[in-house]
Symmetry: C2
Subunit: 377 residues, 2 copies
């Protein structure tokens, strides 16, 4: 299946988007969504799944066409199989298509790499991927072509990965709408342990404590506990696979949290025993360290954290009220950087906290007050 290729300035062969053939192996949520996204971008996408029903559904959703395995001739194979079988399907793909670049989308990368090394796979053409996109629901039926838009896609080369293989995967990620970050497997797994897996465990552990509370106590729930526990609603099956697949890095970061927690409990014990030797300082340090870590999270659109200021507005609980408010914000010429809704308890309105740049606070306050909104900084 010959295809046109274009030469680049340095003489290497670049695959042009319109001619790139991609084979997606595994047509669940991620594989099907990627097929839809790449098909729209002009890629020629073929689909394969162990389940004939699943691959036909993906085809009907516009994710690509079906092809006999022996007649497929992909430039890039994307393995979108479950994490615990990903390494096997990658190794199989590397040997079946000896000139294809192969990537996989498992959310943990070290385990896949270990599997490939054990299998003696050709790592020059393998580049790992972790598109940081997902949904509460799985399966091709919930796929959507814009699943990857605005998300980070981590591209994970090995030391043996060829530069053109890395470039092909990077371009595929960008064409799917993602922002690419490149890191090696160990750095990736340690990063997601701290930035994704630890928050999930903490949210689940905090939420688990709420099971035994009375309804009266639960009525005191404010925005804080709601934010902290939102992701505690995540799928146990998926998260068991993710945490087990990254056991080493997750264990390391949980052990560090264990140490900090033990120190806090010890400080509270000393306070209860009315010992004055530093209990307060330990508590203060824990909260202060939290301040410092929180301040390192990048702001909107990956920009450096900005010191946005809140303008809080009382919003009646009627259809369209919030829309009118935000239209008024727009008409004031102020860009809303972020927003949070804080619902009143037992009352028919909520508080909208609108984050704007500090220089816009006064102007927005005046503009909204002039339109009858109840505003405070």
């Amino acid at each position: 299946m010959p295809r046109p290729a274009s030469s680049t300035a340095d003489g290497s062969i670049a695959l042009s988007v319109v001619s790139t053939h991609v084979l997606v192996r595994g047509t669940g949520l991620i594989g099907t969504s990627l097929g839809i996204a790449l098909s729209r971008k002009g890629y020629a996408v073929h689909l394969a799944d162990p389940s004939p029903t699943a691959e036909r559904l993906a085809r009907d959703l516009g994710a690509g066409s079906l092809v006999e395995a022996q007649s497929a001739d992909p430039d890039v194979v994307v393995v979108a199989a479950p994490p615990d079988v990903a390494a096997g399907v990658v190794a199989d793909s590397l040997s079946r298509w000896p000139s294809a670049v192969v990537t996989d989308v498992a959310s943990v990368k070290g385990a896949v790499l270990d599997g490939l090394r054990s299998a003696g796979a050709d790592l020059a053409r393998y580049v790992g991927s972790h598109p940081m996109a997902g949904r509460e629901r799985s399966g091709a039926g919930h796929a959507r072509g814009d699943l990857f838009e605005g998300r980070v896609w981590v591209v994970v080369p090995t030391e043996q990965s060829r530069p053109d293989a890395v470039e092909a995967v990077r371009r595929l990620a960008q064409d799917a709408g993602s922002a690419v970050v490149v890191m090696d497997a160990q750095a990736h797994d340690e990063a997601v342990a701290a930035i994704s897996h630890l928050p999930q465990v903490a949210a689940s552990l905090v939420a688990a404590q709420l099971r035994s509370l009375g309804d009266e106590a639960l009525a005191l729930a404010g925005q804080g506990v709601r934010d902290v526990t939102r992701i505690a609603a995540s799928d146990p099956g998926l998260w068991t696979q993710i945490l087990a697949g990254n056991a080493g890095a997750v264990r390391a970061v949980l052990a560090r949290m264990q140490d900090d927690l033990a120190e806090l409990v010890d400080a509270l014990d000393r306070l209860q025993a009315a010992e004055a030797d530093g209990g307060l300082a330990v508590i203060n340090r824990a909260i202060t360290h939290g301040n410092a870590g929180h301040a390192r999270i990048p702001g909107k659109h990956g920009a450096a954290p900005a010191a946005y200021r809140p303008v809080t507005v009382l919003v009646p609980d009627t259809p369209g009220a919030l829309g009118r408010l935000l239209t008024d914000v727009g008409e004031a010429g102020v860009n809303l950087e972020d927003m949070r809704l804080d619902h009143g308890v037992g009352l028919p309105f909520g508080l909208a906290e609108i984050m704007v740049v500090p220089g816009a606070v006064e102007r927005l306050h005046e503009a909204l007050a002039a339109k009858g909104w109840r505003v405070h900084e």
Copy 2:
């Protein structure tokens, strides 16, 4: 200072709002805000603070009038002093005004009650309060009259509290705009330990782990870690006081989390050692228990948790775009139950996740798509 009082059907004397005299002792954020709120409702509010500057500022902000202590004759004294001196000021108020009802606003109630018992105070006229309202900033300068609107105000009677004293504090809380929940001191302190103090500690501990991450790893931060760590930005001074003041109950709930965490770490150890004896089941149970606890958090406006469904819309990062979207939601006749903004990384748009009742999903989807929005369920 005689005032009219009205008789109720059961013959007891009810204080009528227009004639109730309140003395607010402590004119920081809470005291001043309460003074403003109650003055607007027709209460006669007097102010007192150890700092002459602070009490004059509160007066100038409309929180009430200043009065010589010996000429004050309050129906209700609200002690809005810092938690660590609250018990002393309550005891002093009970003895100085022998017919007044006295309440305090400290966020931990057991410690205040212990202090009052030690001082041999007259508990018949004491009723504790915990208005669950606050701001990132403190001081009268940031006070606002609607600080308590839509918030829960916990009214905390003792076994000795007179019913009319409880009723006076309850009405004051309602007049400030709050929804009243009544519980005893121990139940209150245990409830806030689990629903407020534990989430704060967890958020701080998770955020603290981010301090040592590289910028590249932090670039992977998604909405999950942002939600979990939002309150990690809280004030260390205030939270040291709160956690230390509720040391017993906080220690108990942290110890339970310690146990759960130790079990998880042990399960990850066994998985790394490739032992097959139940490691996966422990992880699965932790996430499942988190699901169950999360499901118990009441929904919007204190209603039972409702199964809202998300409609996700791509929103360009331009002034007014979100406002136009929400106006269109309103025009579709659909009530927005909750909303979350998920910012794209490195791309000029975000995703708005609009929560609506399940029956409205299809209608909203169609209405928004018809107006050119990129929508998916």
